[in-house]
Assembly symmetry: D2
Homo-oligomer: 293 residues x 4
């Protein structure tokens, strides 16, 4: 977006009661609300950060939508991704322009938009979604945001694997991500980044078990908690209420298959890298029992 509004820009209108509206600016158009209308021409050629008034004197603040605003304003069929989590996912998967990434599933593309903005213009997001309604909504949303050039959308199941190989990262936003770890391992480049988001701790358990029984290393589980403060300087204190939980984030790295790769880990860390079978054998051997090689 340039310094002044141009035709085709997306603008965020914020009402006095904090309702958010996204509009795409087009010369000659009007935007209608219960409190009157705004002429798009009043926006074009002028900077944002301004208040506009309807013919009834109702005021809207016109802002450039942030990535956070876009996530929260897009039409959606599915559970929203929280921007705090999306931000951490980009960091942990080490996404930046030029990187390639597989995402499954797309949902309404709330996370896809963040991922595409992270890797564009030279990188690419390959995103899989089975449900036709979500697939269509995702495509529309990405198109509205002019992000489709950086995303390949697959309306496909991933049981049979991904089309892409040697990608830098794979992110699974699915109910049962542990079912797709072999496909994930096959699609990742060596040392590639794995991530997943799951709401319940039961899912964490199954996913970590799945990662530890395969050649994934540096397994990590974390929560990102965002604590907002009230901004009255004379009475500074945290907000009364906050989001207590959105999801658990799980991350790992693809490592080469084979036992020898484990020898570098100290004992308590190695447990995390070893599968259950290997752990049982190792513990048995520590107890002086004979186990098969």
């Amino acid at each position: 977006m340039s310094v002044v509004v141009q035709e085709g820009d997306v603008v965020l209108l914020v009402s006095p009661d904090r309702k958010h509206y996204l509009i795409r600016v087009k010369a000659g158009e009007r935007w209608f609300s219960h409190h009157g209308s705004i002429h798009h021409d009043d926006l074009i050629g002028r900077p944002l950060g301004r208040t506009l008034h309807t013919e009834h004197g109702y005021a809207y603040l016109a802002l450039e939508p942030s990535t956070h605003d876009l996530i929260h304003t897009l039409p959606r069929t599915t559970q929203i991704i929280y921007s705090k989590d999306a931000a951490q996912i980009v960091m942990r998967l080490s996404l930046y322009p030029g990187r390639t990434l597989i995402e499954a599933g797309t949902g309404s593309a709330g996370l896809t938009l963040v991922l595409a903005r992270a890797v564009m213009p030279t990188g690419r997001v390959y995103s899989y979604e089975t449900r036709p309604e979500s697939f269509d909504m995702a495509r529309n949303n990405l198109d509205e945001l002019r992000l489709l050039p950086y995303v390949t959308l697959h309306n496909e199941d991933i049981v049979g694997g991904f089309h892409e190989t040697d990608v830098d990262a794979v992110f699974l936003d699915l109910r049962e991500p542990w079912l797709f770890l072999d496909q994930t391992w096959a699609a990742l480049k060596g040392s590639g980044f794995f991530g997943a988001l799951v709401p319940t701790i039961n899912q964490v358990t199954q996913l970590v078990e799945g990662l530890q029984s395969r050649s994934f290393g540096d397994v990590m589980v974390e929560e990102i908690i965002q604590r907002p403060w009230k901004i009255v300087p004379a009475r500074l204190r945290p907000e009364d209420r906050m989001i207590a939980h959105s999801a658990f984030l799980v991350f790992a790295r693809k490592i080469e298959a084979g036992d020898e790769s484990l020898s570098w880990m100290p004992d308590k860390k190695r447990r995390a890298y070893l599968g259950k079978q290997a752990m049982a054998e190792r513990e048995a051997s520590e107890r002086g029992l004979k186990v098969k090689a």
Copy 2:
């Protein structure tokens, strides 16, 4: 980084006791440690995620360094930025390829590296640092990471203002950010994003007062808390200890100067947008007193 290691790539070596070493790969070179050496040629042309052994049989896992790894491994003179905070800053400032951003101060460029990766290749970071040692270290660090092409480093004080105007965002990582809000306002485009990081609540107070007495809107204070979990599936629980605090994050948007821009806010939100002078006047007038227009 391509799928196999090439000369010039930066590789992360992780020792069994979890020490991290960054090396830049060069044909014919050797990397020496207390436990023996690694030949760079053993890396070239092969994928990462592999274990390499020194001549004494000591093992190192070779990984592609993540953005998080780079932040934590770079030489530095100053307090580290936590990657959880850097991630949220990129989100809140709405950074993506093509955006322009002013940062002050640079420090050892831990945050600069994240910002540059977010806006490159078509955007730009303008970063200010007064201390010569930090300035030199920042330049070396960014050069090592091949990020200098996307960063303009100024070894200058910012009291007199910034060289740039109409930038998308300004981020202040300074002891007294409230002293530079006029310069910040002047450098930002309309609706542009302001951010700052301050460790103490006393600094939050002064910064929020400064923002509220100028034409900044949507002022926001938050903490990002990262809670790690242990990854033993049969005994899943949070880690025993965690980082309790790194810094408070403060964000705002530049809004047009002038009283009329405030009329759109509901009462309890408007307080945050109004300066102290205006608040005193408004409260006086609510109590039935006469105040100047």
Copy 3:
């Protein structure tokens, strides 16, 4: 309360929509709700943990009210005390049967009830409240709960000091507790426990400054955060939302007046024990400057 309900007991009725009602049981009485009535005689002589039905078939679960339930169900004029904070206050002030304690102000006696239950039957709470309506409500509430025998209520200002001396603990639940620290020090026994609850960080600053400029040691500031989990075992996860903040808790110990008491503290801890004057002098002297004795 004995194992079966007796006349005079307080019983908690919980409706299907989680509304809570406290009733005092009296033979022959009926309790009326929008959904019909409950005969007190249906409770008398039988254990609790039972479901009772109105004549319209509406069900209420009859439970013994917990201390937590009592706090949250009592009539009140003031901000509620959270039971998580009340619990920690009892712990930090080291309250148990036989201890004596001053509380100011009483409010509607939500905290007083917890304190009285902690120190009864041989200890005593001396509680001060200036507002007549709060004072009356507190007395009624404590009387209903049969706790008045363990509480002395003063409808008085505390500017002139407390009537009691050598008490084990003093707890201030006031807007400006720092104004009453001399009175507090005078009322406490040596080594006695000080506590206060303040909602904002600005109040924390003033209170800690006040404590450090007087003979108080072991100053401590903390928040107690209660994170509830959903209890569906197959989908275990924290609740979506939680209380982000109730108040900051500040604690300290009375120490003997006089400089020599500071000599035992290591340097970084000693700062907390020293008043601002002393700190300024010490820092000046460390910089080699001459300061007045």
Copy 4:
């Protein structure tokens, strides 16, 4: 403890490097440290909150030990209970003088001491411990603290059930508390309070399943997080590091056996009260299937 120290009192000595020592005062005795000795007679007849010096000029601050200090200073064989958790347990179990309570297992009596102080002098703690060393240490610790008169210690297994019935509360601090829920239900009075402490989420799952398949209501899972702040008023901020996790707390109430007690709960709450069998049946019936009565 009276206002001045008397023979037999327990006193806490805090060294300049923050080491804590508990001593029982006896006329004519001396307490020896690496830095010299303290004469008990210097304590007797004088208030606490004073600094005492050894013959080498080393200073110790003499304080009355708080309940928190006692927990953390007692000899122990087992994992410590955190005072923040102990405080919440007393609140949730609604303990106060006169109440009766079963605890299993005793461990080194860190929690027992808090429970005994809550219910004495007219109530009683019945505490079970199988390991002879823990049992002996617990008895010694309670004896030292003069709390044995309020505690009945059983060196017994609880598989066969508890000796006591109609107690107000039962608290299980065991590795597998779900194995003892029938014994717990049998020992509790109607509406009685159940509590347990478990470190891992896997234990939470099994315990909640166990409670929901029996006649327990108001099941609750929570964590208590204690966030300490630094106390330098000019640079107020949370401490850098904190305890991220000690244990999950699980609470419930005994309710009368029988289906009718469930009818009062709204749908989403009722799930928590229903056993797995009942839930499966209910869900089947909601799907229009035929299930047995």
